[in-house]
């Protein structure tokens, strides 16, 4: 296809061609960045918790009076919950991923308080946490029974003596890049040593996807919270989730009338809720992209139709001189391809510029190069689809149209 006559024609319609190029460029720039933002959100939402999400049910209990013996009450609660039909295992934990609570501590490799520390999300849990959560040990072992102690005992002493700690893979890599984390000594919030006994494949922080280091690095300590400072995790047969939720709440309130079940919920609901904002944002971005592409295609249809109408005489003359319908069709398609290509080239630089601004103002990562060809293909396809109807109308014009004039 000879493109010189097309360029000659376009030169006579600088404003209209410029507008199409501008519109394609803007759309390309925005859509590339929006698609990248969407993919980032989806990546965040898809981050696995490493837990048996579908099988977990949670209970929060509050006392109306000060409890005389919270440790004994907690033990009784655990026994009761374990006895419910459909329950596989039960444990108490101080906080959970996607929850409202967030406790973090500083972990150091030296006993000196002023040594460089790493912020680490601080999980406490009683026996059975590993089976209940469904987390997977990558190396080392679970805590032994004699390593556990009550949080209430720990709360009374200024010097925390905890023999063992299990850390997540990310933290193990950060502190012990050589891969020999198990058996090493670390210090948490004080001069007392803790031995790393295990490394977990995954243990998300209570606030996963955040920017701080304690939102990537986590540890588990063999410390049993009592009901007032912990959450009961119950792992159940997914089919009986709903039944355990109501039976569990009733059983807990029956044990002690001076307590109320503050919250009973499915773990997946908590997770769903945590990512709702990201999901909304991804939908919104997607809708805007779609609207942008629609508006742009309307613009192309509008201007192309106008051009076809304006060039009726030219088309008729060409047809009369022997041009085939296919040639007329391809003329408009090539013209659109040229305009869109120019728009895409401009749009790519603009996309990159926007990405730089977003990096600076919102600490977003740089737009990966792969998004640029995606945007280009999208807009080329859009341009060709949008121009098809006006181009076919042009191709259908009979040669005699040239003689009739406009």
């Amino acid at each position: 296809m000879d493109i010189l006559p097309i360029l000659a024609t376009l030169r006579r319609h600088k404003t209209a061609s410029g507008l199409i190029v501008l519109q394609v460029a803007l759309t390309c720039a925005i859509v590339c960045n929006a698609l990248f933002l969407i993919s980032q959100r989806l990546e965040r939402i898809a981050e696995p918790s490493g837990m048996a999400d579908e099988e977990l049910v949670l209970f929060n209990v509050s006392g109306l009076s000060k409890s005389q013996d919270p440790v004994a009450a907690t033990r009784a609660d655990l026994v009761t919950l374990r006895g419910l039909p459909g329950v596989k295992s039960v444990a108490i934990i101080n906080q959970l991923p996607y929850g409202d609570n967030f406790w973090a501590s500083g972990m150091r490799l030296l006993p000196d308080q002023n040594a460089e520390g790493v912020g680490v999300a601080n999980y406490f849990a009683g026996e059975g946490w590993l089976q209940t959560t469904g987390l997977r040990l990558l190396a080392g072992r679970d805590f032994t029974n004699d390593e556990y102690q009550e949080q209430s005992t720990l709360d009374e002493s200024a010097v925390r003596k905890i023999p063992a700690v299990i850390i997540n893979q990310a933290l193990a890599k950060r502190l012990f890049p050589k891969g020999d984390a198990v058996g090493q000594t670390v210090y948490v919030d004080g001069p007392e040593p803790l031995r790393v006994v295990g490394v977990l494949d995954t243990l998300l922080s209570p606030n996963p996807g955040g920017e701080g280091e304690h939102e990537r690095f986590t540890m588990m300590l063999p410390v049993r919270p009592s009901y007032s400072s912990g959450v009961y995790m119950v792992r159940v047969d997914p089919a009986q989730r709903e039944a355990v939720l109501s039976a569990g709440a009733a059983a807990l309130e029956k044990l002690d009338a001076r307590r109320i079940v503050r919250e009973k919920r499915h773990f997946i609901d908590t997770r769903d809720n945590y990512y709702r904002q990201d999901r909304n944002m991804a939908w919104l971005m997607g809708a805007v992209c779609l609207a942008l592409l629609l508006v742009t295609s309307f613009g192309i249809v509008g201007l192309a139709s106008f051009w076809v109408q304006q060039r009726t005489r030219m088309i008729g003359t060409r047809r009369a001189l022997g041009a085939t319908r296919g040639q007329i069709l391809r003329y408009f398609q090539t013209e659109n391809f040229l305009l869109t290509s120019l728009g895409i080239v401009l749009g790519m630089s603009a996309a990159y510029g926007i990405s730089l601004l977003l990096m600076k103002s919102y600490e977003l990562p740089r737009l990966p190069w792969a998004y640029l060809p995606v945007g280009a293909v999208l807009l080329w396809a859009l341009g060709q689809i949008a121009v098809l109807a006006p181009a076919r109308r042009a191709a259908a014009l009979p040669p005699v149209a040239a003689l009739r004039g406009n």
Partner: protein
């Protein structure tokens, strides 16, 4: 003349209804996207206490250990109990308050216990933040001193427990202790929840208010950010003298001079603590922030909301370019008509205004439709789960802005086509006819 142009515009719309609807729709969607996001932004970045926000200051002291902090790292954004109590006792501001969030279960007689959000504060909370009262008042400094068992409840709780009656003097049980109600706060929802951002930027105001000293004496649980350093038994971390920062401290300073001298006083206090060996970090980190500065510093407006505003404006820009293109095509298609008008004596200015009026009418129609779409958009935001969903409303200013934006946008879009239209050479057009 204007009426005539308007009539011509209507005629032109009737001739190409499809194109007209398309242009109105484009403007409407673009404007609605902008206005929906802008309204959310406007609400979230608003001033929660307009007539006083410049006189209320959040107080920050760098009481935390040096640790691996760099010289100019941010200090903890709350105070230790010891510092807060000392500043409160020295009373250097016009008013001052120390407080923390909490949660308590209240047990109304003969009803099921209710879990409520609570605020434990000193007496000045009510006059400082101008909490509107339905019945009674807040408590006094003497009540703080005596750790009095008094409480103020919200209108919502008053309705739920007492059916909305004047409940002053009634007794509510909290953790086995009797509290006397001395006041009922009217519905009150500062947006953002500026006086305590540590429990969520857009939380509802609290259900019950208790004196801080009373809550501490009874060891009620607190809620919010708790930042500790040094070694101490965890169950002593709320004691006076514990090395934990967890208290919000605000001071009211009527004039800029008072603010300046208060800042100096605060730095002197920090320096004295440093000399005494209690503080390790530079005393220059002592700071006061007015309400709006504090909200900006703590970046209360979510980044997602800001991104949405940018995205919407980018979208509007594309819609505008699109409208320019379509208007241009339309005006060029009408070259013949313009040629006739010009030949019959219409000056260029008249043609220019005619096309601008046409663009403006499109804009007005787009604006009205955009208003309806904005209302739908905001309704969708309210259905969402975000913590600020309930507050998002279209106000008068935003209503005007919507129509203004649509008109401005369409006029801007109409400029180029109108200019091109008035360039049409009458002779040339008449000849090709």
């Amino acid at each position: 003349m204007f009426a005539y142009y308007f009539e011509m515009a209507l005629r032109s719309f009737r001739r190409s209804p499809g194109l007209t609807v398309l242009m109105v729709l484009t403007i409407a969607i673009g404007v609605a996207a902008c206005m929906t996001t802008l309204t959310v932004f406007h609400v979230l970045s608003g001033d929660p206490i307009p007539h006083k926000s410049a006189q209320l200051f959040n107080v920050q002291l760098a009481a935390d250990a040096q640790g691996d902090h760099k010289e100019d790292d941010e200090p903890t954004f709350q105070l230790t109990r010891l510092d807060a109590q000392t500043l409160l006792a020295e009373k250097r501001g016009d008013r001052q308050v120390m407080m923390s969030g909490g949660g308590v279960a209240i047990e109304p007689e003969g009803q099921r216990a209710i879990l409520t959000s609570a605020r434990y504060s000193s007496a000045d909370f009510f006059p400082m933040f101008e909490v509107p009262m339905l019945y009674g008042t807040g408590w006094t400094a003497a009540d703080d001193q005596n750790a009095a068992r008094v409480m103020v409840i919200s209108e919502e709780i008053n309705e739920r427990v007492f059916g909305g009656a004047d409940s002053r003097g009634k007794i509510l049980r909290v953790r086995d202790k009797d509290f006397r109600i001395i006041g009922v706060a009217k519905r009150w929802r500062p947006v953002p929840h500026f006086y305590d951002l540590s429990i969520g930027d857009f939380r509802n105001s609290e259900d019950v208010y208790l004196p801080f000293s009373t809550a501490m004496e009874l060891k009620f649980g607190t809620m919010g950010n708790f930042s500790c350093w040094g070694t101490h038994a965890p169950n002593t971390s709320r004691d006076v003298g514990a090395s934990c920062a967890w208290i919000q401290y605000w001071v009211e300073l009527g004039t800029p001079q008072k603010a300046a001298s208060y800042l100096q006083y605060l730095k002197d206090y920090a320096e004295a603590q440093r000399r005494a060996g209690r503080f390790e970090r530079p005393s220059s980190l002592a700071r006061i922030w007015s309400v709006m500065d504090w909200l900006a510093h703590r970046q209360v407006v979510p980044k997602d909301v800001q991104l949405q505003v940018w995205l919407a404006f980018g979208f509007l820009l594309v819609c505008l370019v699109n409208t320019v293109g379509l208007l241009l095509a339309k005006s060029l298609r009408r070259s013949g008509e313009i040629g006739v008008r010009r030949a019959l004596g219409a000056p260029r200015r008249a043609i220019f205004w005619q096309f601008l009026v046409e663009a403006g009418s499109l804009g007005l129609a787009g604006g009205l439709l955009g208003l309806a779409l904005t209302a739908i958009g905001l309704w969708a935001v309210r259905q969402g789960s975000s913590s600020f969903a309930n507050y998002v409303q279209l106000d008068g200013a935003m209503l005007g802005t919507t129509l203004g934006l649509a008109l401005m946008a369409s006029l801007a879009a109409g400029l180029l086509p109108a200019w091109r239209a008035c360039q049409v050479m009458p002779a040339l057009q008449l000849k090709t006819q």
